[in-house]
Subunit: 262 residues, 4 copies
C-alpha cells in the first residue's frame, strides 16, 4: 500500500524543463540578499529581471549576479519600463549581446495607471523578436483573441495578466483565463495580479501551467515566509487541477450516509 | 545567507500536538485502503470517524483499524447522524467505554437538506459531555455569538462550517469566520464546505488554525492526488497568513519603478 | 398589443398590506426632515423606529411624528440597543401602552463589534411577546435552523441579516438566505448589510419578500437620491425573481444566430 | 418639504438624447410581437437590430418595422455575424443606402466559442466607417488600452463586454470597466454578459452611462416582466452611482447609536 501518485510532468518552456511552476521577480525587495533568500524559499528555478533597472554588470555597485547565481537559476530578462515595441526590441538585443540571453519576457506597457500591455505593439514586437531568433514569453491582456495571435506568431509562453501589476487583487476574470487555457498549446502562465497564496492556487486550478509574481512576495510583511507559502500554493493548485475537483452541490450531502447506520 | 524562517508552532488541541493542520474524514471512499492512502498523502495526523457508520470492532467485516493504525494516527470519533443531544452523548459514551476515546467531535444535526448543526442541542450536548470529562471539538454554525458560548462552555476547538457538508461550495461567509477567529482563544477549525485547494487556503488565510474536510478529497476524481493538493493548500494558506499579505491596490504599482531607469 | 404584466401581490405582514417591499429606518439622518424626505423618495410605507433613541412624545424637542405622519406610514417600533430579552420585552410593552403599537420588530443584540442577534435570547423574547399578543417581526442570524424555530414560535416575519448592521458589505451568504426563503411560509425580509442598490436587488432575486435598510440610505452622499435608487432596486430584484432569470452559460450564445444569415 | 432630486441628465449619443439608459436587442424573442412588448415594458428608446438576420424590408414576411415603429424608437443597426472589417463595413453601407441609418453599432467577431470582438479588425473597421461619415458605437473587449484607441479614432460610444454574449454571467471584470469609465469622455455602455437585474445595476454603479442587453430579457421565463425589472435596475444603479454609496466597514456600526439611549 502506498500513497504514491504519478509525478507531474515538468513545465517546459522553449525546451527548458522547470520543476517548479512558480516564477518570481526582482523588484521591490529591500536588497539583493533578501531577493535571493526569497528565491530559495520559493523553490522557483526561473527569475525575471528588469533589464532597465537591475544592475547585472557594473562591478562598482551591488550586482544581482553576486547574490543569485545565473548558473543555478534561469534568468529571464524582461522589458519592464518599455512603452514601444522598438524600445523593447532594442533593450533585448543589447541584453543578448551582453549576456547571451535568448529566452526573454516581452512586455510593452501603456498607461502607468494600470500598466496593461499595449497589445498592438506587443504583437508587433513579438514578431520582430521571433524573427530575430528570440524565444519570447509574452505578457499580455486576458483577451483570448490576442492570446491566439501571439501563439500563432510563435511565442513560447502566453502570460495573461490576472489583475493590474502590483495590485494584489487576484484573478479578476477566471472566464478569460479558462478560455485561454482551453485554446492554447504552449504554456499559459498568469503574470501579474496575485496577492496571496489562494490567488496563486486559483490560477493553477484554472489549468494554467505556471504563475509569475513579484509584489505579492516582495511586499509581504515577511517576504521569505510568503515565498514559502507561494511554493506550496502553486503545487496545491496544480495538484488539485490534476486531481479533478468534486462537483459543487446546492444542498448538503452527508459524509456519513444517514441510512444504514449501525 | 539562508532562506530559513521560524517554524510554525504546532496545532495544539486539548493538549495534543499536531504538526499537520489538516484533518480528514472516513466517509465516501471506495475502500478503507483508498482512505488509508489518502490519509498518508494528506500528511494529516488526525482522522475523524463516524461512530455510527464505520466498523471499528466487528472482526468478521473489514475494519478501519486494519488499514489505519490507531497507534499512529489520532482517531477523532464523531457523532454524524445524531439529531438530538442525547443521541450524541449516548454514542460517545459507548465509544469511550469500547475504545477509550476521550477527545471527540460533537455534531448534532438538524435538517438533512443542509445538515446544519442544531445549535441549541449542540450547546446542551457539549455541556453534558464536558461535565462527563470529554474533550469536545464542536461542529457549529458560523455565528460568532454561539461560537463564544461553546468556547465559554469549555469546548477545546470551535469548528464552524464554511458551507453545507458535502457541498464543496467553499467558505461562504469570510466575515463570520474572521469574527470567530478574532474572538476565540482555542483553535478554530473550519469544518465542512471546502471543495478544492484554494478553498482550504482561503480558510487558513483568514487565520483559522486548521481545516477538516472529507468530500473534497473522497469525491475528487483522484482522491490521493487531491489529498496531496490539500496538504500543500493548508500549508500555503497558513504560511501566507503568518507572512502578512500585501495591501490590495486600486491601480497598478510597477514591480520595476519607472523612474530612475538606466 | 400591450406590455402589461400581472401586478405583483402586495407584501402582507401580520395582515397589513404593503405595496412597497422596502422598509427604511430612522437612524443617522441629519434631521427628521431629511429622514422624511428620504422616506417619501423611497416609496416605503413602513418605517422602523428605535424606541430607545427616537423622540416620539416629548413636545419640547423635535419629534419624529411632526415630520412623518403615523396615520400615513406604518411605524414599526424596534428594540435597538436591547441586549437582553427582558429589556426588549419591557421596551415594547411601554411602547404599546404609550402608542398602541402592536406590530413590532424585535432585536436582541450581543457584541457591539458585530451587533449580531443573541439568538437564544431572541427566541425567548419572541415567545414572551407573542404570548403577550404582539405581532413580532424578528431580526435574526441567517441560520435556517433558528429561522425555523422563530417561525414555529409564531413570528410574523423572519428578518435575517445580510451582513453586520451598518457595514454595507452586501449579502454575505446567499446560500443561507436561499435556504431560509425555501423553507419559510411567512415573509422573509433581509435586515442589515445592504450597501448599495445592487445589494438590495440581489436580496430580492434570492426570493426574499422585502428588504429593510437604514445606513445605506442615511450615509449615502445624497440620501434622497439613494432612497430613490433603493425604491427601484427592490422593484427590479423582485420583478427579476418573478420573471425567472435566464440560465447561466459557460460559453457565448449569439443573440443573432450565426446560421441562416441573409 | 419635498423629496425632489435634480433630474439626471439624458444620455447623449452622437447628438441624440435618450431618456432611458437601457438599450435592448431583437434576437431570440418568440415573435416580433413579443419583442415589441418587451421593448415597451423596458422603457428603452433605442433598439439594436442585426442587419443580417432581421427582416426590415421584405414585405412578404413578417417585418420588425410592422411591430416596432422606427419613428418612435431609435433603430441601431448592428453587424452581428460579421467576422471581418470589410464584411461589417459593407453591411452597414448597404443599410445606410436602404434605410438611411447613420448611427450604427459595430461588432466584428472572432471565435464563436466566446464571440469576443476581434479588436484589430474592429479598430480598422471603426476608422473606415468614421471616415465614411458614420456615427460608430463600438462593441469591444474590456481592455482600457483598446477602449482609448477606439475613442481616439472617433467612436461615439464605447461598449465593452461584461461577459461572453448570451452567457448571462454578469460583469466579470469590474476593475476594467471602472478603468474604462474613468478615462473615457464619450458614453460607456456595457454590452453583453448581463444575466439578471442586479448585474445591470452593478454595471451602472460602476459609472457606466448605459447597458445594452438581449438574452437576459429574451430568454427569461417571462420576458416582459424581466424587461420591467431591467428598466428599474438601470435606474437603480444609475441613481445609486449619482447618490454616492456609503463606505464599506469591517465591523458593525449601529443605526441607533448605543450611547445616549433614553
Amino acid at each position: 500500500m502506498t500513497a504514491k501518485i504519478a509525478e507531474d510532468k515538468p513545465l517546459v518552456v522553449a525546451g527548458r524543463e522547470l520543476k517548479s511552476r512558480l516564477i518570481i521577480g526582482t523588484g521591490k525587495y529591500q536588497s539583493y540578499e533578501q531577493n535571493a533568500r526569497a528565491l530559495e524559499a520559493s523553490g522557483a528555478e526561473m527569475i525575471t529581471v528588469a533589464l532597465r533597472r537591475v544592475n547585472l554588470s557594473d562591478p562598482d555597485k551591488p550586482r544581482l549576479v553576486d547574490f543569485i547565481d545565473p548558473e543555478k537559476y534561469v534568468f529571464l530578462p524582461n522589458t519592464a519600463g518599455c512603452f514601444t515595441g522598438e524600445d523593447a526590441v532594442r533593450t533585448l538585443r543589447l541584453a543578448r549581446e551582453a549576456g547571451g540571453w535568448n529566452l526573454v519576457k516581452l512586455e510593452v506597457l501603456s498607461d502607468p495607471k494600470h500598466l496593461y500591455p499595449e497589445m498592438e505593439e506587443t504583437l508587433r514586437a513579438a514578431k520582430m523578436l521571433i524573427a530575430d531568433g528570440f524565444d519570447v514569453m509574452v505578457y499580455c491582456s486576458d483577451d483570448p483573441v490576442y492570446a491566439r495571435k501571439l501563439e500563432d506568431a510563435g511565442c513560447c509562453a502566453i502570460m495573461p495578466l490576472g489583475a493590474p501589476i502590483g495590485s494584489g487583487l487576484g484573478i479578476q476574470n477566471p472566464v478569460n483565463i479558462r478560455l485561454i487555457v482551453e485554446q492554447t498549446s504552449v504554456p499559459v502562465i498568469v503574470d501579474a495580479g496575485v496577492g496571496t497564496a489562494s490567488d496563486a492556487a486559483v490560477a493553477m486550478e484554472l489549468g494554467c501551467d505556471g504563475v509569475l509574481m513579484n509584489t505579492a512576495i516582495a511586499e509581504a510583511k515577511d517576504p521569505i515566509r510568503m515565498a514559502t507559502a507561494m511554493k506550496h500554493a502553486v503545487i496545491a493548485g496544480r495538484e488539485a487541477y490534476l486531481a479533478g475537483r468534486m462537483t459543487k452541490k446546492k444542498y448538503a450531502d452527508p459524509s456519513s450516509p444517514l441510512s444504514g447506520l449501525i
